[in-house]
């Protein structure tokens, strides 16, 4: 097997030879460093530059067209009830898997005493899970989930029913604004282990271009916009 260092040197030297680069060039390096540090934005679609209420409407419309259910909850009590009612309406056990997210933890769960909450990553037998999106980009109805103890990644993929709560104030217009939100939370130049952009329930169109929901991930996605 080719030695690691040798393989690396070979690929990089082939690239440099192909580009006609023979010497170390500080100007090239500086330009690359500058681009990575400044990370300039490209064109942002006009639809992402609307007033906040219009963005919430766009978010709702996009998610709905992509097969998700969307409910606007005016109060935290409403949010809890929306989730409990959904489980009931779909004949699911009144059990919800979730992480340690403080925003979710602070919801008034006492409003529906029958609803049991289990904390931790999703297990194979879990039927329903709740995650919180730290931000969302209205331009395509895309929720941004980050991995960790607060919202384990498995919650978003193993259970058949997935709820995502996002605070209305965390909804922005574009992907770029959402990533800036993550940079503010996690610092420049790095990301949490997994950043999951979710825009609807799992689907496939592999067979005869027929869209079927619930391929390998959740069959249903219910998004609750709080506030």
């Amino acid at each position: 097997m080719i030695a690691t260092d040798q393989a690396r040197a070979l690929v990089l030297s082939r690239i440099r030879a192909a580009l006609g680069i023979t010497t170390k060039d500080r100007t090239r390096e500086a330009a690359v460093e500058e681009r990575l540090r400044r990370h300039p934005r490209g064109t942002i679609p006009a639809r992402a530059r609307a007033r906040h209420e219009a963005l919430i409407d766009l978010m709702t419309a996009m998610l709905t067209s992509q097969g998700a259910e969307v409910t606007r909850a005016a109060t935290p009590e409403d949010a809890v009830r929306v989730i409990a009612d959904d489980l009931g309406a779909h004949d699911l056990p009144s059990v919800l898997r979730m992480g340690s997210d403080p925003v979710l933890g602070a919801l008034p769960w006492d409003a529906v005493p029958a609803l049991q909450r289990r904390t931790g990553r999703a297990e194979a037998r879990d039927r329903a899970a709740l995650s919180r999106a730290v931000t969302a980009a209205a331009e395509t109805g895309t929720l941004f989930l980050v991995s960790g103890n607060d919202n384990p990644t498995t919650l978003a993929f193993l259970p058949e029913s997935h709820f995502i709560l996002v605070r209305a104030g965390d909804v922005v217009g574009s992907y770029e604004e959402a990533f800036d939100h993550l940079r503010a939370l996690y610092g420049e130049g790095g990301l949490p282990r997994s950043v999951n952009l979710i825009s609807g329930p799992s689907r496939t169109a592999d067979i005869e271009q027929t869209i079927v929901r619930g391929a390998h991930g959740p069959k249903r996605l219910h998004v609750v916009i709080l506030g």
Partner: protein
């Protein structure tokens, strides 16, 4: 089923045309992708501007590819992952197998990856006694059929649901033989149940990458099914296999490319899942892999940087050029006899494997130009196919008769007076020979044309003569 003996392109194309099931399945390309892309593009007025920006950002990245790869590598290492450079397909296979062995893998789950097909990864792992489970629905079907994908984003676009139902009955053991698999949702539900077991027991998950981001050391996959996410979240080891040109500088650059990718391919505004994976699980994380490896494949790409085919490295594998190609739409992907079919395959395949292995491909085109028009990276595919034809010709590979005919034509074409004189002499002869029908049903040396259709005869005068006459009339 895979062919035992390789056919020539002409033979396999003829066979594809006569295959009624295939022709029925291929209608889905036209009914689905083309309309969906046009709709998605129309909803985004900034599409063309984004296309121009994406082209520029990829060109910029390729000119500094060495530096961006180094920056990316630093970030992956910083986040606790490992980067392995693979000069060749064989190197990549060895590296992946070694990581699997160290991880004690008996079962590997895989997300859809064309690069893994390119290097023949599955056969290599299986030969070493490791079970490989493709988890994308289309790839799963391909795997149980022992076939190659016929489309880069829709692997089983060549199949109808009845054929897939037969495969499931044969391959999914231990299920009732008389179960109903007549509807597409039945098939999806069965694949979900069968593959769920695999997800939960695999020791290693292998995915490709649609993008690699130098700023953060992240790899990005776009999927609709969620299989890629289960593949990279559940097993203890995650291996990403990606080719070197997948790199973009920043998250902003990734946003620009992502706005074009799904719209061009499936015609979605965005795929259901777009996942940015950066290193292994962090301390305290309750899920995610403990080990994170990236295998960066060259396999001929660094050579493409030097010459006429650099622009091909802008390709983001959306599949739009396949979907809009009249040749692809008529014969499907398998007839090309190469892993990468359609216009992008006609340019990429000779670059990766040498023109000797792909001489028919740059000729499998009507040069209508739709591929370039719909390419989100504005890759001049027809011009590059022409370039391959020229190279093939210069090497003296085409048959002697073809070369002599072209030489003869070129001799005349370079001498306008001679050319016009010949035209004036020959046109009336052809008119007389064709007689009242005005068409030829057979001609010497042109059997390939006249076997399947008539050749119309000239109307009487040459174009030049008509043009002169009509300009004079004005």
């Amino acid at each position: 089923m895979a062919d035992a003996s390789p056919l020539t392109f002409k033979q396999s194309a003829a066979r594809a045309l006569a295959d009624a099931k295939l022709q029925r399945a291929l209608l889905n390309v036209k009914r689905g992708f083309i309309v969906k892309r046009a709709t998605a593009k129309a909803k985004l007025p900034e599409f063309d501007q984004l296309r121009e920006e994406a082209r520029a950002l990829k060109d910029h990245t390729l000119l500094d590819l060495d530096l961006y790869l180094e920056a990316y590598e630093r970030k992956v290492v910083e986040s606790g992952g490992h980067v392995h450079f693979a000069p060749s397909a064989a190197d990549a296979r060895d590296i992946v197998l070694e990581i699997c062995r160290e991880a004690g893998a008996r079962l590997v789950t895989k997300g859809k990856s064309m690069v893994s097909e390119e290097i023949g990864l599955n056969a290599h792992l299986e030969a070493a006694g490791i079970e490989v489970a493709e988890t994308d629905l289309g790839e799963h079907i391909i795997q149980i059929r022992g076939e190659a994908p016929s489309h880069i984003i829709a692997p089983v676009i060549h199949l109808n649901k009845e054929e897939i139902a037969e495969d499931f009955v044969r391959a999914h053991r231990g299920l009732p033989q008389d179960r109903s698999l007549s509807a597409v949702p039945d098939l999806v539900a069965e694949a979900r149940a069968v593959l769920r077991e695999k997800f939960l027991s695999a020791e290693v998950g292998i995915t490709g990458a649609n993008l690699l981001i130098a700023e953060t050391g992240s790899s990005v996959i776009v999927t609709n099914e969620g299989n890629g996410d289960l593949t990279e979240t559940l097993p203890a080891t995650h291996i990403i296999i990606a080719s070197i040109e997948k790199i973009v500088p920043t998250l902003e650059d990734a946003c620009t490319v992502l706005r074009l990718l799904a719209r061009s391919g499936t015609g979605q505004e965005i795929t259901t899942y777009t996942t940015f994976a950066t290193g292994p699980a962090r301390p305290g994380d309750p899920d995610g892999p403990r080990a994170y490896h990236v295998v960066l494949l060259d396999n001929g790409r660094s050579e493409m940087l030097a010459g006429d085919f650099r622009a091909m490295l802008r390709c983001i594998r959306c599949g739009a050029c396949l979907n809009h190609c009249p040749v692809y739409g008529t014969i499907g992907g398998h007839a090309y006899g190469s892993l990468y079919p359609g216009p992008m395959g006609a340019v990429l395949t000779p670059a990766l494997y040498g023109i000797d292995h792909a001489r028919d491909l740059p000729n499998a085109s009507s040069f209508c130009g739709r591929c370039e028009e719909v390419c989100p990276m504005a890759i001049p595919l027809p011009a590059m196919m022409r370039k391959w034809r020229e190279r093939d010709f210069e090497r003296g590979d085409p048959p002697l008769r073809q070369r002599l005919a072209l030489r003869l034509w070129a001799f005349a074409a370079k001498r306008p007076r001679l050319y016009h004189a010949l035209g004036r002499a020959i046109a009336p002869m052809l008119v007389r020979l064709a007689g009242d029908r005005g068409r030829f049903s057979a001609l010497p040396f042109a059997g390939a044309w006249t076997d399947t259709r008539d050749l119309p005869a000239p109307e009487g005068e040459t174009f030049q003569a008509l043009y002169k006459k009509r300009s004079g009339e004005k």
